[in-house]
C-alpha cells in the first residue's frame, strides 16, 4: 500500500482503547470526545510515544507501527517518524533563543547551522513572528510562544502534524488570531488535531472523528457531523439537543416511551431502526406547566444547570438544553431542581437514521496489504 495519508488502528487494552480511522493526504482530522475517551492515547500511538497492543500506524505507505498478529511487528522510533507534535503548552526550549528553537528541527535533520537558521527565519516569517527571532522564550507572551512553537513544528517538515489542544492554554483574546494562523497552515497539510472547542473543529478540520469510551462512535465531514450529529457527544459538542431511540411512524421513540415528533431527513430511518431526533436549544420553549392539546413536543425535564450564553441563558436539563432570555428565567423562576417542560415544534426537529457503530468501523478500517 503506497497511498499517501495515514492509516491509524490502535488497540491499547490497558486503557480500553480500540480506535481506527484514516487521514487522507492533505486532510485535517479533528479527534473529539470527552475526557478519557482515548484521544491522547491515540495521538501518542501515532507519534510513537506508546506501543499499542495490536494495531498499526501507516504514514504515506510506510509502516511506522505494527503490533500483534498477523505478521512481524515493526517499530519506527519517534524521531524518525516525521510526526511533529504541537502540545497545549508551547514547550519552547528555554535555553535556546526563538530562532534557535525553530532551527532545532532542521539542525536535527542534518542541515548546516547557516542553512538551518535561514529555514528558521523563513518559518518565523511565515507565522508572522519574524520580529521575535532574537528573543528568549521567557520573554514571550503565551500567544507569541505558541506561534513560535507552530513555526518550530513546521520547520521540521513533518509528514503528519499532531496537535494536542494547541489553543487550550491560551487567553481567549489571542486564540482567534492563532486559530486563523492554524487554519492557513493546516489547509494543505495532513494533520490530526485533538480539541475541545467547536470552533477549532469547524475552522480547522475537514473531517471529525468522535471518540467515546475508547471507540469511534461517529465520524464524517465536519459540517455533516456538527449539523447532523448522531452521537450524544457530537450533539453536545455542536450545541444541539439529541434524543436517541428507535424510529416510529411519527418520530423517534426513546427507551422510556417518550416520543419526539419531527421531520424525517436523509437518510430516513426505517421503522424500528435506530434513529435520532436533533433540535437546536434556541428552538426550545420552556414552560412551568405542560401545555395541553397542542401538536408540539413536550418533554418533562428537571433543570440541572443554568449558564450564561451571551444575552441569553442556557437552561440545561441533563443532556437537553434550551436557550431563553434572562427575563424568562426570572419570570419562570428557573433554578436547578425545578421541574419544567421543554416544548419544541415538530417542524424544528430533524429525524434521521443513527450511524451503525459496526458499519462505521468497517468503512474506516483499511484492509492491509
Amino acid at each position: 500500500m503506497t497511498a499517501p495519508g495515514a492509516i491509524v488502528e490502535v488497540v491499547v487494552r490497558g486503557r480500553a482503547v480500540d480506535v481506527a480511522f484514516e487521514v487522507a493526504d492533505g486532510e485535517t482530522v479533528a479527534l473529539l470526545g470527552p475526557n478519557g475517551a482515548g484521544k491522547s492515547t491515540t495521538l501518542a500511538a501515532i507519534g510513537g510515544l506508546l506501543r499499542p497492543d495490536t494495531g498499526r500506524v501507516v504514514l504515506d505507505g510506510e509502516v511506522l507501527t505494527s503490533a500483534g498478529p498477523p505478521g512481524p511487528g515493526r517499530w519506527v522510533a519517534p524521531h524518525a517518524r516525521r510526526t511533529a507534535l504541537l502540545a497545549q503548552d508551547a514547550l519552547l526550549f528555554p535555553h535556546l533563543s526563538v530562532v534557535e528553537n525553530v532551527a532545532f528541527g532542521p539542525r536535527s535533520a542534518g542541515l548546516a547551522r547557516r542553512a538551518a537558521r535561514a529555514a528558521a527565519e523563513h518559518w518565523l516569517a511565515e507565522v508572522g513572528a519574524g520580529d521575535l527571532a532574537g528573543l528568549r522564550p521567557a520573554q514571550l507572551s503565551g500567544g507569541q510562544a505558541q506561534r513560535v512553537a507552530i513555526a518550530r513544528a513546521l520547520a521540521a517538515e513533518p509528514r503528519l502534524l499532531l496537535l494536542d489542544e494547541p489553543m487550550a492554554a491560551l487567553d481567549v483574546a489571542v486564540a482567534p488570531a492563532l486559530r486563523t494562523l492554524l487554519r492557513r497552515v493546516l489547509a494543505e497539510r495532513t494533520a490530526v488535531i485533538v480539541t475541545h472547542h467547536v470552533l477549532d473543529a469547524l475552522l480547522l478540520a475537514d473531517r471529525v472523528v468522535v471518540l467515546d469510551g475508547g471507540r469511534v462512535v461517529e465520524q464524517g465531514a465536519t459540517s455533516e457531523v456538527l449539523s447532523r450529529p448522531r452521537s450524544a457527544f457530537a450533539a453536545r459538542f455542536a450545541g444541539l439537543n439529541l434524543v436517541a431511540g428507535v424510529a416510529g411512524a411519527d418520530g423517534v421513540r426513546r427507551e422510556d416511551g417518550l416520543v419526539v415528533h419531527g421531520t424525517p431527513g436523509a437518510p430516513a430511518p426505517g421503522d424500528g431502526a435506530a434513529a435520532v431526533a436533533v433540535f437546536r436549544p434556541s428552538a426550545v420553549a420552556v414552560h412551568r406547566e405542560p401545555p395541553g392539546g397542542s401538536p408540539r413536543n413536550a418533554l418533562p425535564v428537571v433543570v440541572t444547570e443554568l449558564e450564561p450564553l451571551g444575552e441569553l441563558v442556557r437552561v440545561r436539563a441533563g443532556d437537553l438544553a434550551a436557550d431563553v432570555t434572562v427575563a424568562a428565567v426570572a419570570e419562570l423562576g428557573l433554578a436547578p431542581g425545578v421541574e419544567v417542560t421543554f416544548v419544541v415544534k415538530a417542524t424544528e426537529v430533524d429525524v434521521y437514521a443513527r450511524q451503525d457503530r459496526e458499519a462505521g468501523r468497517a468503512e474506516t478500517i483499511g484492509f492491509g496489504p
Partner: protein, 261 residues
Amino acid sequence: MSHTRHVGVPRWLLAPALLAGAFVVLPVVAMTTRIAWGDVPALVTSEAARSALVLSLRTSAASTALCLLLGIPLATVLARSETRWLGVLRSLVLLPLVVPPVVGGIALLSAFGRQGLLGEHLEALGLRIAFSSVAVVLAQTFVSLPFLVVSLEGALRTAGERYDVVAASLGARPTTVLRRVTLPLVLPGLASGAVLAFARSLGEFGATITFAGSLEGTTRTLPLLIYHLRVTDGDAAVAMSLVLVAVAVLVIGLVRPRGTP
C-alpha cells in the same frame, strides 16, 4: 530576590537555627584563634604544603571529571528507566555515601590492590594502581560519585520528559536530545553536583589513606598532610587546615551557580 513575605516560620525556630549556625561556624573561628599568624606564610609556602595543595587540586579535578564521565550516564539511566529494580540499583549507587570511607578504601584495595580481584591482572600488564596518584583519584571518585548522581538524577526527574518528547518529535535522535535538550536543561543541577563532588574529593581522607597511603608528592593530599602534621607539628596542622577551609569556601562560594541549593 523578591521581598514578599511568605507564610512566616514559627518564631521559636530562630533559636535552634542560630544554634545550628553557631555550631558550624564556631569551631572554624576557634581554629583561627589558635594560629600563630607570624609563622603562617612560611608554613603554607613550604615544599610539603605546596605539593600537597597542588596534588589535592589536581586529583580532585581529575576525580570530578571522572565523576562527570561516569555519573552523567548513570544518573540519566536511573532517571529515565522504569525497571522495578530501580530502588535496589539506586541503593547500591548510594552505598559509598553510607559506608565509612575507610571501608571504601579496603574495598578498593580488594579490587585494585596488588592481589586484588582486578589488580592482579593489571599488575600482570605492568599497571600498579594502589599507592599511586591514580589510587587517590579512584578513592575520591568512589566517595564523590553518589553526590553527583543524586544531584543530577533529582534534576532530571524534576525537569521531566516533556521537552525530550518534543525534541524527538522534531526529528532529534536520542543522542541529540541528550546533548542539546536534556543536559542543558539540567545544567544547574549538573553544576551543583560537580561542585559537591569536587568538594567531597578535596576533603577525602579515609579511603585515600587506606587505598593510596600517605606518600609525600604522590598520594599525600592536603587532608593527609594535616593529619600527618597533627602528630608532629600542631601549629602547622592548624595553619594548613586554614588553607583547606579557604579553598573549600572558594569552591563553594565562587563555583556554585546562583539559584541552586
